[in-house]
């Protein structure tokens, strides 16, 4: 493995799974030998430090696979290891880790918007009453104003609610 990693231009450090892991930003990927860790111990979980994990599996039994799932590996390799396969496992692991990061950020944004729904709703009501508009017209006005000011609907709605109407602002940059 060390030879293959070196060929890929990667540096390798070895750790005992029973030891504390290195700080999260010290490694880009962790390769963990499943067969060397009893399934009934928590040392493996300590290694979930943000870097994608490639698990090595020798015994394909249900308990070991359950242990594997708890580890949330980004990829895996079945033993015995061969020269082929490691590169694919690495590419898949990095891709899976990137997707996970992107999805987490996306979910974070969506959750923020869900949390802002009440504020948007309150702002739409405010504009409907203040300008005598229908709900559709009021929302369209907020959206256009937000675009013109290069801000989000949620941000502008918070300002509308705060000042009790459409804020008078000159153009602003986000």
């Amino acid at each position: 493995m060390r030879r293959q990693f070196n060929r890929l231009g990667m540096a390798v450090t070895e750790h005992d799974p029973a030891e504390a892991p290195p700080p999260g930003d010290a490694v880009d990927v962790i390769v963990m030998d499943g067969d060397s860790i009893p399934i009934k111990c928590d040392t493996a979980a300590a290694w979930r430090i943000g870097a994608p994990i490639i698990a090595l599996i020798g015994t394909e039994t249900p308990s070991r696979l359950k242990w594997l799932l708890d580890l949330q590996p980004a990829s895996f390799l079945v033993k015995p290891l061969r020269s082929a396969g490691l590169y694919t496992a690495l590419v898949v692991a990095f891709d899976a880790a990137q997707r996970r990061t992107n999805e987490a950020a996306h979910v974070e944004r969506l959750e923020g918007r869900v949390r802002s729904r009440r504020v948007v709703f309150a702002a739409v009501l405010q504009i409907m009453r203040g300008h005598g508009l229908s709900e559709t017209e009021a929302f369209a006005l907020i959206r256009q104003t937000a675009m013109r000011h290069r801000t989000t609907v949620e941000q502008l709605s918070a300002e509308i609610v705060a000042v009790g109407g459409m804020p008078n602002r000159t153009t602003r940059t986000a």
Partner: protein, 393 residues
């Protein structure tokens, strides 16, 4: 005229943590090889080549590589632990050889280059858990060694027990070879579980059985103990008093009452002394050699593909009953049995499957809904406990 000789590989550790069991297996292999070599029924002899990995897992690969390259063997009989088998599989697959594996194991494997002669989990674990649910209790205290066989056996126990509405009261694990068992025995005496399921192996198991026997005797408690690995030579190691009353699941017991087994035991005694006992893994090793010899005879060649085809579905009347290889998964049809250990370091069989059971290494045919709801039989002599049913949505 001299019969042609066929090289045969044997891989058994004669030292290390499980040398006792591997020694029993090797004795049985030699016995079978001698019988084949002296028999008029076979027009060949085996020239056995032994390799001793000394219980070191990493040494198994080299031992087999050496047998294949130096001795030109096409067939290898051996391996006791799953860890050692996993070392050997890559090389027998790469070189298209056959490993004849005698030992019971946890299942979840099926290689085209291994013939699995030992029990699969549906042969030994499932019947024992079913008996426990039907006749003892659905709440069980589990103790075992911290390695793959216990993990997987406990998982099967948990799956069946919880689906029948029972509970795993505890799952205690000891490192392999650990004999400090007092804290667990104390816990059992304090909590008084209705049944203890013991998947400890080797010295840990002997120490535990002795300590539990002593503690329950002192506390005047009766706590049934279940095992799917204890065998006659181990009862001797445990001792005459403590070894009595263990309910054990196995495809082989020395007390099986068939002409083939009576003759086998007599030959064993003639060879190893009247105070020596064959064991389940030993008998299974004997069956490995006999299945191989019969398959070579049928195939007319030692070629692996031809031998595999010849072994498929070929019924052999072995000491333990009819045995044959299921070509779907290379495991064997075996007859599950349950027994209780009695004085004299023997087992008294109290239940036997009506026919050899198809091997199910992945437990894909395990129907949880039917366990714990056996129809009442008029000849049941034991009190039936109420069945718990889980509604499966």
């Amino acid at each position: 005229m001299k019969k042609p000789s066929i090289p045969l590989g044997l891989v058994f550790s004669q030292s290390g943590p499980y040398a006792m069991m591997a020694g029993e297996m090797l004795k049985s292999a030699w016995m079978a090889i001698d019988e084949v070599n002296q028999s008029h029924e076979f027009d060949f002899t085996f020239a056995a080549h032994l390799r001793d990995p000394g219980g070191v897992v990493a040494a198994y690969h080299d031992a087999c590589a050496d047998l294949i390259r130096q001795e030109q063997v096409e067939h290898i009989v051996g391996c006791y632990t799953s860890a050692s088998r996993k070392q050997v599989i890559p090389i027998v697959e790469r070189t298209e050889r056959l490993l004849w594996h005698p030992a019971r194991y946890e299942g979840f494997e099926s290689s085209d280059n291994v013939i699995y002669v030992g029990a699969a989990p549906n042969h030994n674990v499932v019947p024992l858990v079913r008996h426990m649910l039907d006749h003892i209790s659905s709440d069980v205290f589990c103790i075992g060694s911290n390695y793959v066989w216990t993990w997987e056996t406990n998982r099967v126990i948990r799956e069946i027990v919880t689906s029948a509405g029972g509970r795993i009261l505890a799952e205690r694990l000891l490192e392999l070879g650990e004999t400090a068992v007092d804290h667990i025995v104390r816990e059992i005496i304090d909590r008084k579980p209705p049944v203890v399921f013991n998947t400890l192996v080797g010295e840990s198991s002997y120490a535990f059985v002795r300590a539990l026997h002593e503690a329950t005797t002192r506390a005047r408690l009766t706590i049934p103990m279940l095992s799917c690995s204890l065998c006659e030579p181990e009862l001797k190691l445990i001792g005459p008093a403590a070894s009595v009353g263990c309910i054990t699941s196995s495809a082989y017991f020395e007390s099986i009452d068939r002409p083939q087994n009576r003759a086998f035991v007599a030959r064993w005694r003639a060879r190893h002394g009247t105070d020596s006992n064959p064991s389940v893994d030993g008998q299974s090793t004997y069956v490995c050699v006999m299945l191989l010899a019969r398959a070579i005879r049928r195939a007319g060649t030692t070629d692996v593909a031809a031998v595999r085809r010849a072994a498929a579905n070929h019924r052999y009347e072995s000491p333990q009953g009819p045995v044959w290889v299921d070509p779907d998964n290379n495991h064997c049809f075996l007859t599950p049995r349950l027994a209780r250990s009695v004085p004299g370091c023997q087992f008294e069989i109290f239940w036997e499957a009506e026919a050899p059971e198809r091997p199910d290494p992945y437990l894909s045919n395990l129907d949880l809904a039917t366990i714990g709801m056996r129809p009442e039989k008029s000849n049941d002599t034991m009190p039936k406990r109420a069945n718990h049913l889980r509604v499966v949505k």
